[in-house]
């Protein structure tokens, strides 16, 4: 039996685990509730149980495990593996997660920011497997992501690099949860898209969305916009296109700045397909120089929900210097 890695994706709702071979083959998986509200000790138990279940599913002995990688919500010190106080993990404060898990699993453990880990997954085995540089943008409630340059994950001295959702695309624009104004996230997240729809409806645009939400604008969701657009609602299609244009403006900046080979889009919003991708690509092209703009292809992520666990395993391999 060859050596394997354990990759753990620690979220506020679920702990997901994969057992991955050094060549990147997924041998076993597990997913179970994080039970975050029960505090750090229970969460650690869940992670250990999930790792054991994934190993068992893969029929791999503990002794074949080389190391474990953990994608955790920030902020954290990725060098020491200490997680500070993630908003969605109540009771966590300066938790030495890498050391704690290393003791429990009996193998070296490495902790990284969950968004960076997902980026590394797509780079190692997903949409970016054939390139040396890429940017990942994860379009969900917020906009997260990761950056690979010169074949390496760009973490930065504080591990906070690649906050692609917090590029300022409009000075004095919409106020962001981060405290700044005009961040990409306020326009190109699902939340931002919904806000664009609500603003447009309040400005008097006619749309079937009004009926779908029963006249209550607070009930409008990303899915509702997507469904209305697919059903032929012009306003809903415009909202998705507008979201794509904002995204494209940021992608153009990222291309000018990083000259990446690929820009990979992930997260729930990519289900909107060409309605989102087409204006994003066109705007990115218009907003970037010709040479890097022609180089960078804008593509959908391919690992879906597995990017985190695969990336966590890959990051562990990278931290061991084996990748």
């Amino acid at each position: 039996m060859s050596e394997v890695l354990i990759g753990i994706d620690l979220g506020g709702t679920n702990v997901k685990t994969a057992v991955v071979s050094r060549a990147g083959e997924v041998l076993g998986k597990d997913c179970r509730p994080t039970r975050a509200s029960e505090g750090p000790d229970v969460v650690i138990d869940m992670m250990v149980e999930s790792a054991e279940a994934a190993l068992s599913q893969a029929s791999v002995a503990q002794s074949n495990v080389l190391a474990a990688g953990i994608g955790a919500p920030g902020p954290m010190n990725w060098q020491t593996g200490v997680v500070f106080s993630p908003p969605n993990l109540p009771g966590w404060k300066d938790m030495p997660l890498a050391d704690t898990m290393a003791k429990r699993l009996g193998v070296p453990c490495f902790v990284d920011n969950d968004a960076n880990v997902a980026c590394f997954g797509e780079f190692w085995l997903g949409a970016g497997r054939d390139v040396d540089s890429m940017v990942l943008l994860t379009l969900g409630t917020g906009v997260g992501g990761g950056i690979i340059v010169m074949g390496k994950l760009l973490r930065g001295p504080d591990g906070t690099a690649a906050e692609v959702g917090h590029l300022c695309v409009r000075r004095n624009g919409r106020r962001c949860n981060c405290g700044a104004r005009g961040c990409l996230e306020t326009y190109a997240s699902v939340t931002g898209m919904v806000r664009t729809a609500v603003d447009g409806i309040q400005a008097g645009h006619q749309t079937a969305l009004l009926e779908r939400c029963g006249g209550d604008l607070e009930k409008i969701t990303g899915r509702m916009i997507s469904e209305a657009a697919q059903a032929g609602d012009g306003f809903a299609a415009w909202v998705i296109g507008e979201t794509g244009v904002w995204l494209g403006a940021a992608i153009g900046s990222l291309i000018n700045l990083l000259n990446p080979e690929k820009v990979v889009l992930a997260g729930g919003m990519i289900a909107a397909g060409e309605m989102l991708f087409s204006p994003a690509r066109a705007t990115a092209k218009r907003q970037s120089f010709e040479v890097p703009g022609s180089r960078a292809s804008v593509e959908a992520a391919t690992l879906g929900g597995d990017a985190g666990v695969i990336g966590a395993a890959g990051c562990a391999l990278e931290r061991l210097g084996l990748i």
Copy 2:
């Protein structure tokens, strides 16, 4: 006599050269007209003569030269050292600059983008000498720059990375020479600052600038704005502050994206001092996350006009794998 490097900064107006020791000591310098209008052969001769003059001034024999680095205007292929067709070097087309100069100087030659080279200079021996990551923004007629991450110059596969002047800071904003809209360069270059002044005067603002330019708004210069501000003109001071805010919005984005240890400002405009730096710093802080925002200090470059020649020598050393 220890080994030395030759660093050449090839501009449209002047060829500058420095002889630099491996430890980064500048031993000799030369500067002479490029004579760009006389075509590539003459320019190559000027570069060779400048290198010889700098060696002679340094009292270093040709046989002590390890390699030469050349900072040239883009676009180019930095891997092969072929320069395509720089707008300010008439008659140049797919010039194998590295090979040509290697034959003429009898040492390995490496070519890099001039802005990246200046960044490497500040990183090696200037404002960034004590850090592993930095962003340089050069504020002149345009906005250029460079990026260092993980101790390395970020060139990108096409060598076009670090076009910091072409971050989109306002979707649908001012039209840029690059064809895009809302690029930082249209607001935070000297040209952009002058445009902000002209726009404000046309909107009816009162200012001593009107008298200084003799009523001809096309005659307003960056220096004129700076002098008026220093003489107490409120509008001119506002124009510089406004330029600093645009700059700060982009710096905030760069901090969120790259988590750099330093952001270094260079170019003619930094003479405006605190009138520019203070709003730039405040805005950058407001527009970035707390941890990376507190980490990144925004400082003035320290090498002045020597950043290019020193950086070119440093880049040669780096390309040899000696730095």
